[in-house]
Symmetry: C2
Subunit: 776 residues, 2 copies
């Protein structure tokens, strides 16, 4: 028989050749044997002692790598093998050798097979080194059509509504009102708009909010306000379920602009402006940042020079770097601006103060000697009209100084309750801490939107699956769980921390001092907005190409919130401030000891104190231990404490060596950033534990506790380099933590969709076709 | 004297009181003492033995936290202290006590100060626990205006032009031609366009490229082509200096569409289509992905059923999930599409094949029974007209089957040189590997653009600085260096790896098999595009608000390249494929041992082999060792080897326990992903070392070697959790590596701008006002 003939033959006929059919299948099945291995298999068969010539004729020609069988022949083999194995008992593992013997003879015992082939079969199977029973199972299984509706929609294991109420806290009714309002057709997302149209749309929405009394929520009641900072922050956050440009414009008008008039001004300003600001009759700007000074605002260069003859301040932009930059509401809508400038009077400098400066007439004409430029297109937030401002010796009356923290008498005499200009400025900045908390919360809401979309999609979208089985939802995959579920847990944790911080902030009277709140706000703002950017990126990728479509909204959330890590305090700058604050508290702690005449600080003592409470040296790796809040809290406490102590030591060593403080600071900057992040994480876990303790419903508390463990253990796992390097975590424990994170992902997975449902973001605001809910 | 009087007094008068002036300054300076500490300081002063009453009258009233000094008084103290310390010798550290004594008497020796105060001064300074000499230095220093032009622009320490030539490789002339072409006014970025306008603009640019003969570069010369795949890839990459929509549209038309006609078709297709495709007379699509099958393309559902009576294939979309999705060129411009469908003939299924299907007439009308929908707005790449396609039993002639890997005779008989449909499909997919390499390179070019902008901005933008010194460039800060410089080094490393891979790919004849190239392309595509997304995010943030402005282009680069992690193979899917490939190579290695009758594989042997070559157990921490390529290469080799071996062990353990293979796979999925990433990093370092060895110029090689160390050590530092957990890196060495990364950042920093200049991205294409070059 010629080779050409053989290649057209579809099936060996003799029992000996049929017994080897499984080996032929193995030889040509996808990705099993290499060409060299096929040749080796043939050699091996040919060297069988007493090999029947029929095998040499019917089988070996098919084992020539340069002359593969026709698709027809191969398909026929597969068909014959499949039909045969389907008829065999399903509950038995069968080797390829057994299948070969079975197929070679009607009785299935291979009686017709020659003893030489029979003896060689098992050897051959071992020699090719494949998983024979696995290949038999593959042949047996057919891929059924995917069953419909088997996505994980089992009833939630907890009361979603109760969890929503817990998240909303005592503002639940107000937030629910916002959900209804935002679902009103007036807030429906319009089709793609040009930038000018989008800005007008946002202004229209803002007007609706003002008309509903939602603008003046934080101002005193005597000026038309609600007198409730908590409702203001809740509104800001709720708006972040919807359009982020609206959030920012709301914040600029009522928070930064109105808030600075309220908090930096005095009664005369409140009486004159607050009512109009809250009703949006007076749209305004908060003009602090300059092109050359975005983070280092204490060194802005705009000047306000007092002229006693006319009793006016002269506002001037002395250089291009001093132009006011990124000013929201400036490009189109603003009429007034609160302008921050260096106050000069009687030849003396008194540092940064705020002044009310008209920039447009109510009919929209730009005021004389004011120049305004549009910042133009941005990555996102194009519904906000950011602009640049220049002041060419603009004169404003003396009373336009917002004079709560510094006054200028008619003759130019300056006075202030705070002697140093630096401390005065930071006191003024401190009044802005509410904005920082609000931005962190709004960003977190965007992360919640992204997770809602991605988790729902991950539960519905199927891809791949077990061989010849229906495809499975993406969220079944460990890689997919690890993308989304630890971030879901962290979102809940940060929510608790921000909730906790907000409560402290709003219960604090305006004169009590806000240093501690500010420090926490700085840390959590940086921590939360970093989380938002990372989470939305992951959510986008987890939704694949669908995530890249504009209609599914994740890309808009990303573009709009990307600047949250930059504005209201650049995250890196904030973290370094936090670290400096921790260091100075630390130093102060021991300075107090000095001044009180007590024992001197010895570094060794602190190390000992730390190691007493160090829970990590334990070699316990059982789940009970790893999931205990004590272990988790101690771990994060220990890391933050130790990073603080080593940072202080490193700085002191450099200062003792007479290294310039600035150089010393740069030299440990990465350490300080790590410290601040560790601090933020510690504060977050602490708050999460506290908040979870307030939950009465057991099933809700159980799910939150599981999230707490997932958050904390994932945080430790992520930074296991630090824990291992510090010698306080061993390899076995580190591995056990990884295993536990995987287990927790599995455990949280059935609740995942219910957990995003509990964010209760209305479909009208979420508006992503791939991610809208089916429970509300 | 009443307290009110005192508060208006500006300066103590008596020597004893003046000697305490520095303490008053300390009490009220920014952020030094708490109110409680101010009170304690007063108590301490009041308890001085024999305290002169003048101190009690002139000093103590100023130490009442509830009654701070006026700003006037405080400013006067600062002025007096500053003037005084400026007149003192500059080279001496002085304590606050010494300054007090000096200021209290003309002679500077404090002779007029009473012995009781004199004795208490040093004690008080110690008790408040401040850095006295530091505060004195601060008083002394004035903040000068920033010197201009002192940004780091010293002449580069290497020949930038030579480095550019090294990066361009043997395509330098072609790439330089592209630089000139892209700088032509015809390619100038237009002002903001609507999506339809943008699509036409990109089509216009594409026409210019085709007219220049740049479309057919990879096709054989007999069909009007250049016959050079290398030039095609270089063009694709060079276009990525410019607009990414143009890159993608170029890739769709000439790479995916034209490339599939060329590589999956036979002579009759080449003759009929290639000329028109290369000249853009025939715009076309590559229609593989379906809504339901983006990654798992082997299971797409579109069918092509052969009808022997009419000798046509009937192309059908059987369900909504089977619609073709994300098809570039489909929404507006495409006339033909290469459609992938399941081939059926004579009642048999033969798996996925490609067919040429007309979707529009040359005048732009949609063909009968074809339905097209626009995908609409996307996050980016809106210059590409992505669309959806449905086929309602569209008939195409038999010759429209691209029949290189499978033919259908007129009577419907199927034949193929590759027997199994799975292997056949993966062979077809393998021909697309060029696209995957190209996408990785284009993405890396976008990262280069982002780094060029961010590094230049970081060198020019100043913020903060040493107290009373000029502000310093951002890139002086360690935190900023750490954001950008390790990523710059990694960009150079990946560039080398992709260069290396491209050379292998283009030197390979089309029939030699591409499995190994495909595996590397998958690994590097995932590794490179992940790096692009991360780098652009960091670059955006490193440029602060400026980075958020559309005009500075980073946001566009981000939005356009974000999908690079998803298309041409989702990164997670690719990485898992890579890991599976490594596992099967690993398994095969030991199967070969079996079939050759050699010793059986014992896991222990491999472990021993690994530990012999393990360089990490050494406790060497000196820079020479850490910077040696041996240490670095061995570290990355060891990690990849060990992850492979443990993955194999874990999988085997599960399979031995009869766990379903799919479940076992899910169970170790995170391990497999880590393995694939480690493999990609190992391949990258290997290639970087190889490529650097080809550099003849010593100064260029020196800077590349420094980048190699920065890349490798930063990679180890980033994954130190793994190295520490594996017990092959100790704490001391881990810390030493961190220190070395910091040092390398410092060393690379002076070259940073020259290193981005060497990318030689034309200003016209970079087009970011904050980041254009001043050297070319």
């Amino acid at each position: 028989m010629s080779e050409a003939d053989v290649s057209r033959r579809t099936l060996p006929e003799s029992p000996d050749a049929l017994a080897l059919l499984p080996m032929l299948y193995v030889a040509w099945a996808d990705g099993v044997l290499t060409p060299a291995e096929i040749s080796l298999l043939r050699d091996r068969i040919e060297s069988i002692h007493d090999l029947p010539s029929v095998v040499r004729e019917e089988v070996c020609p098919y084992l020539d790598p340069s002359n593969p069988p026709s698709p027809e022949a191969y398909d026929r083999w597969v068909q014959v093998l499949r039909e045969h194995v389907e008829a065999l008992p399903q509950d038995r593992r069968m080797t390829l050798a057994e299948v070969g013997l079975s197929i070679a003879s009607a009785g299935g015992d291979g009686a017709a097979v020659s003893s030489s082939v029979r003896a060689a079969l098992t050897d051959l199977e071992g020699a090719v080194g494949v998983d024979g029973p696995g290949m038999v199972r593959e042949l047996r299984e057919q891929r059924p059509e995917p069953a419909t509706g088997d996505r994980v929609t089992r009833p939630a294991r907890f009361d979603i509504e109760k969890l929503t109420r817990h998240l909303d806290g005592d503002r639940h009714d107000h937030i629910d009102h916002m959900r209804t309002l935002l679902s009103d057709p007036a807030f429906a997302y319009p089709p793609k708009l040009t930038t000018p149209e989008y800005r007008e749309q946002v202004m229209e929405w803002l007007t609706i909010l003002a008309d509903q009394g939602l603008g003046a929520l934080s101002y005193p009641e005597e000026y038309g306000g609600g007198g409730d900072m908590g409702d203001f922050i809740a509104t800001f956050e709720a708006l972040a379920m919807h359009d982020q440009s609206l959030v920012v414009k709301y914040g600029v008008q009522f928070g930064l602009f109105g808030g600075s008039v309220y908090r930096l001004g005095t009664q005369k300003h409140h009486e004159r402006y607050l009512d109009g600001i809250g009703s949006l009759e007076i749209p305004g700007c908060f003009a602090m940042s300059e092109l050359g000074h975005g983070s280092n605002v204490r060194d802005i260069q705009t000047t306000a020079t007092y002229d006693p003859e006319t009793e006016t301040f002269i506002i001037s932009t002395p250089s291009e770097a001093a132009r006011k930059e990124w000013i929201g509401n400036a490009a189109v809508h603003g009429e007034l601006a609160v302008v921050f400038a260096q106050l000069k009077t009687q030849g003396m400098h008194h540092g940064v103060h705020a002044f009310i400066v008209p920039i447009r007439t109510p009919s929209g004409e730009v005021m004389p000697d004011v120049r305004i430029e549009d910042c133009g297109e941005k990555m996102g937030l194009n519904g906000v009209d950011n602009g640049r401002l220049w002041f060419d010796d603009v004169r404003v009356p003396r009373e336009n100084l917002l004079d709560r923290f510094g006054t200028v008498a008619a003759d130019g005499t300056y006075d202030s309750p705070i002697p140093s200009s630096g401390k005065r400025f930071f006191t003024m900045l401190g009044t802005l801490v509410g904005g920082r908390i609000s931005v962190a919360r709004a960003g977190l809401m965007a992360a919640k939107s992204g997770l809602t979309i991605a988790v729902r999609y991950g539960n519905r979208r199927r891809q791949f699956g077990p061989k010849d089985q229906p495809e499975v939802p993406l969220l079944t995959y460990r890689t997919h769980q690890r993308r989304l579920l630890p971030r879901l847990a962290k979102t809940y944790a940060i929510d608790a921390a921000l909730q906790n911080l907000t409560e402290t902030y709003i219960s604090r009277s305006i004169d009590e001092g806000l240093e501690d709140v500010e420090a926490s706000a700085n840390a959590l703002k940086a921590y939360a907005t970093r989380h938002t950017t990372d989470t939305l990126q992951e959510a986008r990728e987890a939704c694949g190409g669908q995530g890249y479509l504009h209609e599914n909204r994740i890309s808009t959330l990303m573009a709009d919130t990307d600047v949250f890590t930059t504005f209201e305090g650049d995250n890196t700058v904030l973290l370094l401030q936090v670290a400096k604050g921790l260091l100075s508290d630390f130093q102060r702690e021991f300075r107090d000891l000095n001044i009180l005449g007590m024992v001197r600080f010895v570094a060794k003592d602190v190390l000992e104190r730390l190691s007493e409470t160090n829970p990590l040296t334990s070699s316990q790796t059982d789940p009970e231990h790893l999931r205990s809040r004590d272990f988790q809290m101690n771990a994060l406490d220990y890391r933050a404490d130790r990073l603080l102590q080593t940072a202080a030591q490193r700085l002191r060593a450099r200062l003792n060596d007479d290294i310039d403080p600035f150089d010393a600071f740069i030299d440990v900057q990465d350490h300080l950033k790590t410290l601040a992040e560790a601090h933020a994480e510690r504060v977050t876990l602490e708050a999460f534990i506290q908040e979870n303790d307030t939950v009465e419903d057991e099933s809700v508390r159980a799910v939150l506790d599981r999230l707490r463990s997932l958050f904390a253990l994932h945080a430790i796992e992520t930074d296991r380099g630090w824990f291992l390097e510090a010698g306080v975590l061993g390899s076995a424990k580190s591995k056990a933590i990884r295993t536990e994170v995987n287990r927790l992902c599995e455990e949280v997975r059935p609740d995942a969709e219910a957990l995003v449902d509990a964010f209760a973001i209305p479909d009208a605001s979420l508006a992503a076709p791939i991610g809208t809910g089916d429970r509300h």
